[in-house]
Structures are given as C-alpha cells and as structure tokens.
C-alpha cells in the first residue's frame, strides 16, 4: 500500500514548523512508524513527495520494543510510541500525520525536551530517605507502578497538565505510587503530602489517561490505591 506520510518538522526551537510530505510503500503489516523513520533516514537518496531531497528526520529512539518511552510522538492525533504504531493500522485513508508531543518545549523535528517532566519528580521530592520495603502482598502493585516509562503520552492527553505547573500528572503519580508502597512511616508522610499537592489536588478525574499508556499500566487501579494510602489513609486495597 502506498501511504502518504506527513511529518511536522522544525529546524530548531526558533524556527517555524512546516510539513514534510512523502510517499512510502509498504505491505508489511508489522512495520512500525519507528521502522519507517529508520528506513527513510538510512537512505541517503531520500526524497519527498515532490522528488526533492531532504535532511534526515530527527527523532529519539532507543529500545524499539516499547520498554523505554523514547519515541513518544503524536501519530494521527494520538500520542503513542513510534515503535508500537503499526503503519497500516495507524493509517487513515492511506494517510499518516506525525508530529512531536505538544506539551513540552520543541527541540527539532519530532524531538521535544521532556526535561520538565523529570524535573517535576525532583520538585515533588520523589525518593526515599530511609530503608524501604515492599510487602509481599504489594509486589504486583509496586511492579506495575515501577513500569512507568516517563514517555509523556498520558500528559499529552491530560486536560489538567501543563509543563512547569503544580499538577504533575500520572508521570509523577506512578513513581509516587511505587514509593508510597515501599516507604517507611516518616517517608510515607512526606510522600503523601507531596502526592496530595502535586497529584491528587490537581487531577480533574477526566480519566483521559486511562487507555493511553503504551506500557499498558493500569493507571486507574494504581491511582485508586495511592489515593487511598496518601489521602484517605486507608490500607492498600488488593487489586
């Protein structure tokens, strides 16, 4: 199938974005957006739809198997990992529009600076200061919370999150959740206070993030549990 690929590009943060349109032929059902980007970048004779040559498209990638979160981008309107987006499934009437995440400062092409998301974790003091231990009955929950990729997809769809704001979204709730499960009493009190301030207090409960996580983390279940521990001071509910 001949696909029309439209990639939102920009040279640098100072430059204006523009659209690169190109034609891409594939019949391979398992070919992903990531594989397509690799393929066009590795071809030194690459051409756009009008036959003009262009510079390689800048994007971030690392694991190619949905475990690192590097390649998060917006594909036909949905934030997802490029290595998880099958070309033929993502295409709508033979067309795929690809752009960078919009909630973070642009860097170049599909690269954005997700530094503010990680800086927020420091601001929320997400760490332990004393010995921790995840109890045997909570290992599954802590495992699930530990899987957060810090990719930013859930923040992209969140109506309440903006970079640098006090509400830090699920990208902070997941590590918060893990730490609350591992924390001793002193740490737990401090973490709960931060959690209330940066997660619970700002979440509008739109649940837009519910089905967006590329790692398939059951965000809602973890949120119910960490809210219970941090806000309502109830014991963890079993999943």
């Amino acid at each position: 199938m001949l696909l029309q690929i439209e990639i939102e590009r920009r040279m640098s943060p100072e430059h204006k974005p523009y659209t690169l349109t190109l034609k891409y032929e594939t019949e391979n059902k398992s070919e992903t957006v990531a594989a397509m980007l690799q393929s066009i970048n590795s071809n030194s004779r690459r051409q756009d739809a009008e036959g003009k040559s262009f510079e390689p498209v800048r994007w971030e990638c690392s694991c190619l198997q949905k475990k690192c979160g590097a390649c998060a981008m917006v594909i036909n309107g949905r934030p997802m990992l490029a290595c998880d987006a099958k070309l033929l499934e993502a295409a709508k009437r033979g067309r795929i529009a690809i752009g960078p995440l919009k909630k973070f400062p642009p860097v170049a092409d599909l690269i954005v600076d997700r530094g503010p998301m990680l800086a927020a974790l420091s601001e929320a003091k997400l760490w332990l200061t004393e010995q921790g231990l995840v109890k045997a009955e909570n290992t599954d929950l802590a495992f699930e919370a530990s899987r957060c990729l810090q990719c930013g997809c859930c923040l992209e769809v969140c109506p309440n999150f903006y970079a640098g704001g006090s509400f830090m979204g699920m990208a902070a709730a997941m590590p918060g959740s893990r730490l609350l499960l591992a924390a001793g009493e002193t740490d737990k009190a401090a973490l709960a206070a931060e959690y209330k301030k940066h997660v619970y207090g700002g979440c509008g409960k739109s649940l837009a993030c519910r089905s967006i996580c590329p790692a398939g983390i059951d965000i809602e279940a973890l949120l119910v549990n960490s809210n219970a521990a941090a806000v309502w001071k109830r014991p963890w509910r079993k999943k």
């Binding site: 694991c63 190619l64 198997q65 921790g132 899987r147 730490l179």
Partner: protein, 530 residues
Amino acid sequence: MINIIGAGLAGLSAAMELAEREIPCRLISLQPSERAQSVLAEGGINAALDTMNEHDSPAEHFNDTMRGGCFLADPNAVYGLTSSAPDIVRRLLSLGVPFGLNDKGIVLRNFGGQKKKRTAYSKSSTGKILMTALIDTVRRYESAGLVKRLPHHELIKLRIEKGVCQGAVLRDCYSGECQSLSGQVILALGGLNGLFPGRTTGTTQNTADAAAELFSQGVHFCDLEMLQYHPTTIPIPGKRCLITEAARGEGGRLWISRNGEKWYFMEEKYPELGNLMPRDVVAREMFFVRRQEDTQGEVMLDMTGLSDEIWAKRLSDLRDNIIAHTGLDPKRSPIEVHEGIHYFMGGIAVDEQHRTNISGLYAAGECCGQYHGANRLGGNSMLGAVYGGGVAARTAAEEYAPSDDTAFPAEAGELSAEARPEFNEQLAAILAEGLGIVRSGRKLEEALKKLGELEAVCLREENRSRLGLAMLRSAIARRESRGAHYREDFPETDESFRKMTLARCEGNDADISFQVIPERRTADAASDRN
C-alpha cells in the same frame, strides 16, 4: 567533579557511590536513564542468598561464574563480585525493588549455567524495575546538588594529556554546542551494539562511536572476540528482541523437528542442565542441529507446558510481549527462536579496581571487559553493572582531586561528521560474517580482507573500522575454542590460550597480545574453605 559517561545501571550505581561519599559528579548521557539499555534486561540478578533451601553459597556462585566464563575472568575481581552480591541485592530490596518474598527472604529462580536457584527477579522486567529504584535514589542526590545530570549529551572525545585523563569533550545533541569539562572520567557506555546495527537485542542509541574514538585515543580493549549470542531471540522491526532465559528457567523447552518428531536436543545431549546450559553452549547446539540434514525448520521454544500460575505470577509481561511482537500466544504455541548478539563480554580493559590503562579513566558495566570471561552467565550482567559501577566510583573517589568545574566552549572538529548508515551496515555485515557463532580462520581472513577494502570517508568511520579490525584480529589470534569463541579449525580448548587478548591501536592497525590472567589470592580461596 567526576564525570560519569552513561546513565544506565553502572552509571547510576557509580553516581550513588560517589554521592554517598559526598563527591560531586556529572551524570552524562545521550538520553535520560529511563531510555538506557539496562531497562531491557529481563530475567534477574544473581546472588547466593540461599533462600530456597538449596544450601547455596557465594563460593558456588564464584565457581559457576568462573566455569561459565571458561576461566578467562580475573578470579579476584569475580570473588569481589560474587561475595558482594547478597548485600547488593538486599540493598536493592531496601530501595523498594519489589522482589518476590518468602519466609527466608527474596525468592530466587533458576538460570542458565547454575544448578541452584540464585536469580532474584521481578517477573521478566527486572532491569526496568531496578532502574526505576536507582533513578529514584539518585534523584535525591541530584536535588542535593551532588549529582548533576547532563542529559542529551554525547561524548566526543577524552582529554588525555601526558597519559592522564584530564576530562572530556561533550556535545549537546539538542543545541549542537560542544563543551570541555575537567575531572576524572568513569565510562559506563554499554556494549558495542552499535557496531552491529539491527543485529543485536540492545539499544539503538548506542552507536559505539564513543568506544571507537576511545580505542583510537589509546584506551586498551580486551577479549573483543567474546560476543555472546543469546539462544532465544526473535526478529522485530529494526532489531532482535530477547526472550528471557527465565522462559527456560521456569520450564520452557527447546526442540527442533527431526524426521517429523520433536527432538529435545538439549535435554538429550546435556541431561544435567538440559535447556539451561550456559548460553554459548545452547546457541552453538542450535546452530549445529539446524545444520543437520535430518532436521527441518527452526528451533522452537516451547512454553506450552508451563502452569497457569507461572504465567500469571512470573512471566505475564513476557507473554504480553511475545503476543505483541509475534501475534502468537506462547502459552498455546511454540515460538520460533534464533540466536542473536546479546552481550559483549570483552570491552575496555580494566584492572580489579576498574582502572583503565590511562590514569584518571575508569570503566564499568558492559563497556568494560570484566567478570564474564569467555561467556557471561545469565543474571550476572546486572550484578556486574551495579557492583562494577560501585567499585569504579570507589577507586575514582580514592584517587579524587577536586578539579576546576568550569565548562569551556569546545569544537567537535573532524568528529562532527556522522558515519554514513550505508558504511555502518557494510561494516556490520563484514563483522557479523567473521564473528558468527561458528568461526574459522578462513572466514575471519576473508572478513579482514573485505574490511581492508571498505572505504572510510570521515574520522568516525575510520575509528569504527579500527575497532572492528581489533575484533577480527582478536578472533584470529585466539587459535582455540573457548566459551563464546568457537573455531571450527581449532575446536578444542587449548590451556596455553587461557589468557586475555589485549587490543591496542597501532596507527591504522590493531595490535593484539595475550595477557596472563591473575592468580587467585590465597586469602580469598582460604576464606571460602572456612
């Protein structure tokens, strides 16, 4: 400040160690820790915790590691590794790693090359789960100003003056600007995946350009011929995807069709460890049984006999991954598997304290050649990264001299030009051909000839060629078979080769010599007996 290059397990471990000693460091990486290759590690981390009623001990862990590595590893370094392992894993537990627990402590699983249950795990995402805990821990030190992160930065070159490492030149990949920094350098770059694009289970962000530049700058490398092929990988777009050894540790079996029947060749040939023989043995057997005339098709990994409980409690994430990548449910149908390049036992040559041949320069994790000898045991890589990062940092701390923290503008010069993808692909094809699972002098010489004809048009390409050349020359020099290095023309292990290959850059060529493996300290051996 001390500069740590690489923010995976080894880099984070080094940063923790320095911070605990209140020595400031920069943690420099191409992408944040969440994107490091360490998050891909699956099966677990070894420690003789003896929680499974099998009377395990660090001495047995030592013996298995040495035997697995075909006695090519430094026994004193391995002794440090295996005797520290229980404390390391208990420490990880106290950082909130959700290991499974029983009444004696941490639950362990079987892994290849080891008869006893010794591998602590978190389903089959252990690397990701450990990384999350270490990232959270280091965050505290970042906030205290002891760890300064420089994400999206690339190592361009080291500043070596009069044989001493004075610092490094980095490039900010976002702005393109370069800076020169002072201080000792701990390398935690990861393995040499970048020389084999598309052919390994590792990360694509590792280009091996940094390692290649270091080699050209005079850093010594060792055991470069020792590439680990993991027996169970599957192709996915752009790379190979690992199926953890835990699949076999939990009961998965390998077979190939022979005259219409399933032949469980590993169980037949190796009744004691069966499917859990060390990786080099399994991978080689797969190669050989496929080549037999009476077998048909590929080797299959059969997990259909695993209980519902194992799938639910220990391998649920693996099942999801396999379904996502192959469309097949491993609970119901066997999966076609093939060997894939997975780990580099060799790398930057370091001593027991993780010093390189250049003063002020240290290396840890997969980028260095330590602990694993001719073949790494599953479960020892994460252990080696965490422990090695700590040792490198301790050594650097002992030799620490505060340096000027000012960053000066610098130029990438000739190193600003990237290697061409076509060149990288041609180089990878040549190296993969020469350095396959089964090698021969003839194939290696052919690869060497093709490499000589490959035209490099920029410095990065020249560097890569040179490091590739060192790999081929190391494999040519080792005229025996040992661990991951199997030569059809020299199929036997020759004790006179129980030495480490050492590769040094000599102009445009690579000089290979053999270095004696240190003797085991008698005090350590004696304490094992007590």
